[in-house]
Amino acid sequence: MIEAAAFVAWLGAAVIVLSDGRRGMALGLALVAAGLTGVALGSVGWPALLLLAGGWAAAALRLRSGATQWGLMPPGSTPRLLLAVVAGFLSLWLAVSVSIGPGGPLRFASLAVLVLMGATAVQAEEPAVAATATAALALALGAAAALAPAGNFAPYLVAGAIAGGISLLPAAKQRAA
């Protein structure tokens, strides 16, 4: 079950990478939030639900701005598809081959989302894409806190709040300084 959740997190990140439209990005965010919550739930319990709340709020807010369609795999998206696949395999290798011990799905999911969202933020040209990548990145950073041997709910709360808050950004108009 946890392995399936990790795959859902990677799938969500891949959907964000491959989407230019608001619906696609919202779907990706919702999947990332669900997947990361699933893998973190076993380690930390209820605080992981804060990631789900923040992520789904961010997904709902994402529907307000950006290009008004799904925008999945527009022409010229082959490099992005390759990025999603290669980042997935690289994260899998690091999570279950280079490193050992329990928590492999959590390691895979957090690494895959971190790498894919970093790449998306670098190549983004639209505010909606950058904000979506940043929101998903916050969720991944929150989930990665579950790798620590001990902790409290603060990282999950902050990560959820950032994911929700950052999704309000593109609504702000750019003004001259």
């Binding site: 690091l94 280079v98 490193s99 050992i100 011990g101 390691r107 957090s110 690494l111 971190l114 790498v115 969202m117 970093g118 933020a121 670098v122 983004a124 040209e125 639209e126 505010p127 894409v129 950058a130 904000a131 990548a133 940043t134 990145l137 916050a138 991944a140 950073l141 929150g142 990665a144 806190a145 790798l147 620590a148 041997p149 902790g151 409290n152 603060a154 990282p155 902050v158 990560a159 950032i162 808050g165 950052i166 950004l169 593109p170 702000a172 750019q174 003004r175 001259a176 300084a177």
Partner: protein, 343 residues
Amino acid sequence: MSTVLLLATAGAVGLTVGFAPPKTDRSTLLAQGIAALVALAAVAIAPSLDLVILIVLALAGLQAVIAGRRSIVARLRAPTVACVLLGAGLAFTRFEGSSRLPELAAVLIATGVAAATGVLPYIHEFDQEEAAAPSTIAWIGFLSPVLVVAVLSRVYTLIPTAGAPLGAILIGLGLVNVIWGSIAAWRTEEGARAWHYSFMADWGLALCGFGMQVADGRSAALLILCGILLGRLPLYTWSRPALAERTQNVRPVNLLAAAMLAGAAPFAGFAARVILLRGATVVYWPLALVLAVGLLLWLPSSLRLGKSLGLPRGRQAIGIAVALIINAAVGFYPQPVLSLAGL
């Protein structure tokens, strides 16, 4: 160390708001400064590195809200990359397995620190027309001192076996920034960009200090960061009207400001440089030699930056005098500052 830098950051807010050039919206600037101070205080007291990285991301979001010339995309890009690198590095410190994992974590964290600060190899996009608060200067000159200390003070305990590689990477990055920043600050055509590069050069010295992992290195880094917050940053904000008008002046006040920026005696930069060279000699004497040669590169760029202040009048003149007095006081007697930081 974080406490001293928080106090210096508060001092920077006081100087830049209190002696802001005419036509500046002081209340907005004060509100932005206080919001940043609250976030930096949260960084300083955060119980874990996870929270520090998340607060960096939140700061990036808050800065993106401020009206500015660069797009939201450009403003989010560099801090996001920094958070990815720092987050991945932190994750690797928690993995078990290959003996190389701590070293990989060290590489990611050192590059994450560079990305968060905006120094080579991750120079943030700089728009010379943009005000200081929404610009990259806010990261390199205002937010990063507390952030970097918060990260580095926590990370050495997480990767005790990779402390030496992390230190070596920081010194390498520091030297590259010292040379690149000081030469670029001297040779670049645009005045505002020269200021930006001068911040990079100062950060290069600070990174070298942190990388040495000796008390002298940390002391020097602390004094350099205090110099950035209480000297270079306020002077940059006060130089903006003269930069816009492209006026230059060579009065005693310009020369004194240039001496302060160059780290000449009796200012804080001089004490920092002496302590840094002493630390470098202890660690590896050829490093001290390279640093000593690099320090000479500050002279032409600092003279240029001092002239770019124009002819300061009114509040700005008072502000420059206050900055000179503070820096001279720290330079004459740095021990109280170092003692407060536990050094």
